[in-house]
Structures are given as C-alpha cells and as structure tokens.
Symmetry: C2
Subunit: 308 residues, 2 copies
C-alpha cells in the first residue's frame, strides 16, 4: 500500500489568508523554522497506478499538480485518480470534489447522510453529474468493510472500514436537516487495508474510548488529529471562540489529550495531520515540537510518501 | 488605480488536472515554452491598502499567498481584502468565496439572481454568515454605476458598472430555477473607474454589438475573454463537446472573433485573460502567440501588475 500526504494542515491551511498570528507571520517572512502546509489530503494506492483520495481538499488542484503520480499520461479526460472516499461533509474535506468536475468518471464513496447534504442541499454538486459516465455516488455505512473499485469496476486491492467518531454535522447544515440525518454518519475515521497492512486516517477525533484505542493499535500507520495543541488555543490567540473539544478535536497536549491517551499504542507509526495554523508544534524550534518527537510522534508535512 | 492578475487561466487552470493535451503535457514537463497559470482572478485597489476582488476563483488561497499586498499585517481575522464583486454564479468565479469563510467582515456585491443561486440553493454558503460582522451581501443591477465600500463603510475610491453580456446561467442551475431568475443578470462584464481612469474585466463574452464595442473603446485597460482560439477547439482536441460560442465565449481567431471585432479599438491596452489549457496561443513559440502580439494584444500571466 502506497500513501502520500498531499496536504497536512487544518482548514484554512498554513499560513491562513486572514491570519497574522506568530506562526503565520513567521512562516510568510521565512523567519520561523516551520514549513507552509496545504489543507489535509491523503492519497492511497495498492499498485501505484490507480489512486484513491481520502477526502477532496480545497487545495486539491495544486496538490494534484505537485504529485506526478496523479498526473494524466495520455489524452484528455484521463487521470490516475479512480475515486474519493468522504469521511464527512466538512467543506475542508469536500470542496475539492468541485474541482474534479471536468467530465471525469470517478467513484465517490459517501454515507447516505453526507450525500443528502451535498447532492440535495447544494446544487453546485450537480456539476459532477452532467454526463455519463461521470461521478458514481456509492453508499457506505460505518462499521462495514468494503473494497474500493473504479467506475469501470476495476478492483483497487484496497479495502476501507469507516469508524463513527462524531455526531455533529458542519455548521452550514441546518438543525432541521441535521435532525433528519443519521448522527453516526456525521464524522468518520477511515481504515485502509491491503495485503495484510493497515493505515488509519483520523483527522477529526472529538473523543476516544477503549474500543477505539484497541482498534488504533491494530494499525501499521496512523494519521491522527493534530489540529490544536491545547483546548483553549484559539481563544488565547484570538481572544474569543470555541475550545478544541467544542470544535470536535481532541487537543494534542494536556490530560486526556492525544499524546496522553495514545501513549500506550504499541504498533502503529504515529503521525499528526490536520494541524491548525495556530498550533505551536509547527515551529520546529519550539518545546512543543520537541515534546511531540520525544513522545514518538511525527508531524506530517505535505508530500510525504509511505509504503506498507 | 492598481490592478493585479492573480490568475489568468480559464476554469481548470493550466495545466488541468485530468488533461494530457499537447499544452498540458508540455508545460508539466517543461518542454513547452509556456507558463502555468491559475484560474482567472483580478484584484483592484485605489489606494494600495484596501483591495477588492473581481470574482473569487477556486485558486484563491494560493493566489492570496502569492500576493504580499493581500497579506494580513497584524492580529487574527484581518485582511487587506475588503470586498468581492461577482460577475456570475459560475463555479470558477465563486468557489473561492468559500475559502474566505474564516469569520472575516467582507462585502460581497452580487446581482439578486446570483445571490438566490448561491444563498438559497447552496447551503454551503451559509458558512459566510455565521457571526456578525461577516459577509454583507449587497445587491447591484447591470447598467447602474455604484461605489465600492467596506463593511465598515470606508469608501474605496473605486466605482463599478456592470454590463449584461450573457443570459445563460451555469449548468448546475436547473431550468426551473433559471426561469425564475432575471436573464440579464446571468453573466456580466465589469468596468472599474477611479480618478478618471477606467479598466474593464470581460472574461466571458458570448457576443459583441456596436454598443459594447463603443463602451470598450472608452477604457484605458481591457481584460478580455481569451478562452478559446477557435470555435471548434475543444471538439478537435477532445473528439466531442461544445463549440466556444455554445459555451459563451467568443473565440480569439476567425471572422467575428475578438482579434477581428476588437481590431478597431483605439484607446485601451488590450489583454487576453481566462485562457483555456487547450488554447494554442499559450505556446510562446506558436504562430498563434505571434499573431496575437502582432495584433497589439498581450496574453495575461499570473502576477502582472498595472497602475492607471
């Protein structure tokens, strides 16, 4: 199984367009020992020829161009990208779908609830179904394992299992609409398996229980929610706002944070993704950066490659 | 008046993610004398401090980061971008709005018809109105001239006049919805004036009449629809598809094309924008490229700056 981090930042990217915090100013000026990052995006393949995207980030056009494995090789309307698996209806996770509308056959896997939000409540997504064949929307449910295949039916050699993590739909979904959706389909973690190896993508984890921890310890590679360092991070930087947990993200530090709760994991290589521009661990000279590395974690950068 | 071309390509950009045509293969490999381009986007300012965007392209995040004049200078939730003027509801022209959702006060000028499509038919745009102050939607009608101002009421020193150009709404708008909208609000050209100088942005021009030509000849600077070289360009490259005129774009060449019809313009500096990846004039060694320059036109690139 081949994996690539096309992007590694949280929504807004790093730096963020309307932010002049310590991190954003420093990375723009080149005075902070930190790397700019586009918004979180993973690509995975079993054979190096046919690729599947986990989510479709708002930076997807530039992310594809930065990744030669995803370039078309001949003709027009051709791409090594065979499909996309959606873990939520968050705009940072789905807007890139609208950049893939150039009449390309693609299979998009999404829960029935996510499909209702995108296809019934947002007419822009009709651009994905103007011709035949174009996007084939394919249902899946959390808890089931299913194989990934192209619109033409080619098996990828990859299987996915989705884990239900959060029950909150994005802020643009009305309370009435949310009430008509299935809570357990709101926000998922994705586990990919191929040839006996397993990788997990968990960019938004509002809480952890022992069952989830046991599951994570079966993985060979774990990409985990590294959005915020501390629960009150945004409030301290901005002077107001929500806590990390209120936004559906377990903070990295503090009691009950991911460094603490996941310290007991024995098996997986552990990598933080979906890192917000305000997170102090982005500064490679910071004590937070060192603390994460000392705890056996890595902090994802754009363009990293993995082979399992 | 200061203007910048943040992007200069048509929808999909150059190269385009699922295209391996002569141009796209060559620019990716570095073997074609041509420059990659992000999707068309203009920014304008009267004072160099407060900027207005014409449209909001899908590449807007990277375009802002590539333009120091648009970077925030202090604090969080701060930006030199004060507002956006929408010429249509085309996704290539509006999706970038959804990247500007980080709780920033912005004035968005749009026709009532464009607002109905975005705000009533696409719940994702609710992310622009989660707090106060955030986006203030402001009506305008084609044919009227109006001043641009920030949410706080600061006058920009810029005025806009919109010219009705096309009557077709984007393909994602249903026929029933289109029938309930005002045809003349579908697709606009934008004329900016400041201190006696005038610049026009006309990235999608389905037809030209003498009245429009007379208007264009009052401008100092003209950004004009350079999408396709010839009417059957896409059909020849792809083997199928629509003509340039069917897609709402006057081709550059041929009788009735823009080189022909706009040859008589005396006043404006003439620049093609919104150039499709298949357009042969992107190849700087091509006869088409030379023909355009010999006719007194320029072919826009990303990052060009103008002062009027």
């Amino acid at each position: 199984m081949l994996l690539r981090t096309l992007g590694s930042a949280a929504g807004g990217g790093f730096p963020q367009w309307n932010c002049a915090c310590h991190n954003c100013i420093g990375v723009r000026a080149g005075t902070l020992p930190a790397k700019s990052r586009s918004q979180s995006q993973l690509a995975v393949s079993a054979d190096g020829r046919s690729w599947y995207l986990l989510g479709a980030s708002p930076d997807l056009r530039a992310q594809i161009e930065a990744t030669p494995a995803l370039h078309p090789h001949h003709g027009v309307r051709q791409s090594p990208i065979a499909g996309i698996v959606l873990a939520s209806a968050d705009l940072d996770h789905v807007l890139g779908l609208l950049f893939l509308r150039e009449l390309q056959p693609l299979r998009v896997y999404a829960t029935p609830s996510t499909q209702r939000i995108l296809r019934e409540d947002n007419t822009a997504f009709r651009m994905l179904n103007r011709v035949e064949p174009q996007v084939e929307w394919t249902d899946f449910l959390p808890g089931n394992s299913f194989p990934l295949s192209s619109v033409g039916g080619d098996e990828s050699g990859l299987r996915i299992e989705a884990i239900s993590l959060g029950e909150h739909y994005p802020a643009y979904v009305s309370p009435e609409r949310s009430a008509a959706l299935v809570a357990g389909e709101a926000s998922l973690g994705l586990i990919l398996t191929s040839h006996g190896k397993a990788a997990g993508y968990f960019p938004a984890v509002p809480r952890m229980d022992d069952e989830l921890l046991a599951k994570l310890d079966t993985l060979d590679l774990l990409f985990f929610d590294g959005t915020f360092w501390s629960d009150d991070e945004l409030i301290r930087v901005q002077g107001a706002g929500q806590t990390s947990l209120q936004m559906g993200h377990t903070p990295v530090s503090s009691a009950g944070g991911s460094l603490d709760r996941l310290a007991a994991l024995r098996k997986p290589r552990k990598i933080f993704v979906h890192i917000n521009n305000t997170n102090p661990m982005l500064d490679e000279s910071s004590v937070e950066h060192r603390q994460v590395h000392d705890a056996g974690w890595e902090i994802a950068e754009d363009g990293w490659q993995f082979e399992l």
